[in-house]
C-alpha cells in the first residue's frame, strides 16, 4: 500500500450544509478509482479538495510526494476547463507548460491525441466538447502522479469518449474519476466507491459499480 493521497475524517461544509463528511479514503499509487453518486453527493467537492483548490473544514488530507508542494503531483480535469478564451489551444498548453516549468515540445502530439490538432483559432470559438478535450489535454500534459477527472465524458461525442478512455488508460499514475457514465468509466477503473450526501456508502471492485448504482436508484425509487 503506497498511497498517493489519504483522507481521514475529511469534511467540508458550505454554510450549514456538509457537502462532504466523515470521509476516509486512500488512493494507491497505481490505483484507478471510480467515484459514483447522485447529483449533489459531494463528488466534485471531494475532487476539488484532493486538488488543493478547497481547504477541508474538518479532518485531514495528505498527499505523498517527498513532502513537497502537493500541487506538483496533481493534475485536474475539472468542471471549468481552466483556459484562456482568447488564445488558441496550442498557446493555452504552451502557456501553462512554461509556467509549470515543463517542456513545451510535446504540445502538438498532445493536441493530436485529443483531436484538437491543426486549429489556430481562439478557444472562444470552440464547442463545449472541444473545450473539455482541451481540459483533458492540460491534464495529459502534466503527466501527474494523481490525475483527478470530474465528469470526463460529459458533453463528449462517441469519438471523444473513445479518446478520453484511451487517454485515461495511458495515464501514468493514480487516477480518480467522478462520473455518472458508469458504463464508460467502470471498465477503466479497478475500484469504485459510491457517495451519497457527502459520505461513502459503498466500496468495491469497479465491476460491481453498475450494480451498486442500480441499487441506490432502486432505493430512491428512481428506477
Amino acid at each position: 500500500m503506497d498511497p498517493v493521497v489519504t483522507a481521514q475524517s475529511l469534511g467540508r461544509r458550505f454554510g450549514h450544509r456538509w457537502a462532504v463528511a466523515r470521509l476516509n479514503l486512500e488512493v494507491d499509487r497505481n490505483e484507478r478509482l471510480l467515484i459514483i453518486g447522485p447529483n449533489g453527493c459531494g463528488k466534485t467537492t471531494l475532487l476539488r479538495m484532493m486538488a488543493t483548490l478547497l481547504p477541508p473544514s474538518q479532518g485531514t488530507l495528505q498527499w505523498s510526494g517527498n513532502g513537497d508542494d502537493p500541487r506538483s503531483v496533481i493534475g485536474l480535469m475539472g468542471h471549468a476547463p481552466g483556459i484562456y478564451e482568447d488564445l488558441s489551444a496550442a498557446d493555452n498548453l504552451r502557456v501553462f507548460a512554461r509556467l509549470a516549468g515543463r517542456d513545451r515540445g510535446d504540445v502538438p502530439s498532445i493536441l493530436t491525441t485529443v483531436g484538437l490538432d491543426g486549429r489556430s483559432e481562439p478557444v472562444s470559438r470552440y464547442s463545449a466538447g472541444m473545450r473539455r478535450r482541451l481540459a483533458l489535454a492540460h491534464l495529459l500534459q502534466t503527466q501527474p502522479a494523481l490525475a483527478l477527472l470530474d465528469e470526463p465524458f460529459a458533453q463528449m461525442d462517441p469519438g471523444g469518449i473513445a479518446q478520453v478512455s484511451r487517454s485515461i488508460r495511458a495515464l501514468p499514475g493514480a487516477v480518480v474519476i467522478a462520473s455518472h457514465q458508469v458504463h464508460h468509466a467502470a471498465p477503466l477503473c479497478t475500484r469504485a466507491i459510491l457517495m451519497d450526501e457527502g459520505q461513502i456508502r459503498w466500496a468495491g471492485p469497479a465491476n460491481d459499480a453498475e450494480a451498486a448504482w442500480r441499487a441506490l436508484h432502486r432505493e430512491r425509487g428512481d428506477l
Partner: protein, 222 residues
C-alpha cells in the same frame, strides 16, 4: 522573479492575440477627450488650463474598463484555478498581472498625449521627460491597487459598480499628483514643483505595490 516575467509574457500574448480590444479602448480614450472638449466649448483658454485634468480623467475612465476585463479573463473559464495549481506563487501572479496592466495604461497614456496636444492646443516639448515620468508613475499607481481590487470584485455580481467605487478613493492621490505634474508641464513650472509631485507619486507606488502584493494571495484563495 522569472515567474513574474512568465505571467507578464502570458498576459502580453493574450493582449496581443486579442489586440482589437486595445483598439476599442484607445477609441474610448479618444471619445472621452472629445466629449470633454465639446462640454467645455470653444474656450481655448479653459481647455489649455485644464488639459491635464481631461487627459487623466480619460486615462482613469479607461482604467476601470481595462482592469475589469484583464481580471475577468482569469475567472471566466477557470484559468485562475489552473494557475493556482502551478508552482507560481500568488504574489508573482499579482506582480505579473499588475505590470501587464501598467504597460497597457502606459499605452493609453501615450496615446492620449498627441490627442491632448491637438484638442487642447498645448505643447509638451519642453519638460517632456517630466510628462513621461508622470504617465509612467501615474499608470503604475492606478494599476497596482486596481489589480488587487479587480481580483476582489471579479466574482461579485455588482463588480462593475463596486470596482470603480472602491478604487476611486485610492487613486485620488495619483489623480491629483498626475494632473498637477501634467499641468505644470503644459503651463510652466516657475517654482520647480513638478519634482515634489513626482516624489509623491513614487511614494504612493512604493506603498501600494508592496501592500497589494502581500494581500493578493489571500484575496484569490478566498
Amino acid at each position: 522573479m522569472t515567474a513574474v516575467l512568465q505571467i507578464l509574457w502570458k498576459d502580453a500574448l493574450i493582449e496581443w492575440t486579442a489586440r482589437s480590444r486595445t483598439v476599442s479602448l484607445l477609441s474610448f480614450a479618444y471619445t472621452i477627450l472629445l466629449l470633454f472638449a465639446f462640454a467645455v466649448g470653444a474656450d481655448a483658454d479653459t481647455l489649455r488650463r485644464h488639459a491635464g485634468a481631461y487627459m487623466w480623467m480619460s486615462i482613469l475612465l479607461c482604467s476601470t474598463l481595462l482592469l475589469e476585463r484583464t481580471m475577468r479573463i482569469e475567472f471566466e473559464a477557470g484559468a485562475i484555478e489552473r494557475l493556482l495549481l502551478t508552482p507560481v506563487p500568488p504574489a508573482a501572479l499579482f506582480y505579473g498581472k499588475a505590470l501587464s496592466n501598467s504597460v497597457q495604461l502606459w499605452v493609453v497614456g501615450a496615446f492620449t498625449i498627441p490627442l491632448v496636444v491637438v484638442i487642447c492646443d498645448v505643447s509638451f516639448v519642453e519638460h517632456a521627460l517630466w510628462l513621461l515620468a508622470a504617465v509612467a508613475l501615474g499608470g503604475a499607481g492606478l494599476a497596482a491597487p486596481g489589480t488587487l481590487y479587480s481580483a476582489m470584485t471579479a466574482r461579485l455580481a455588482g463588480r462593475q459598480l463596486l470596482l470603480p467605487l472602491m478604487l476611486f478613493p485610492l487613486i485620488v492621490p495619483v489623480l491629483v499628483a498626475a494632473v498637477k505634474t501634467t499641468s505644470l508641464v503644459i503651463l510652466g513650472d516657475p517654482m520647480d514643483q513638478a519634482g515634489s509631485w513626482l516624489v509623491l507619486l513614487a511614494c504612493f507606488n512604493l506603498v501600494y505595490w508592496s501592500l497589494c502584493g502581500v494581500l493578493f494571495g489571500r484575496v484569490v484563495d478566498a
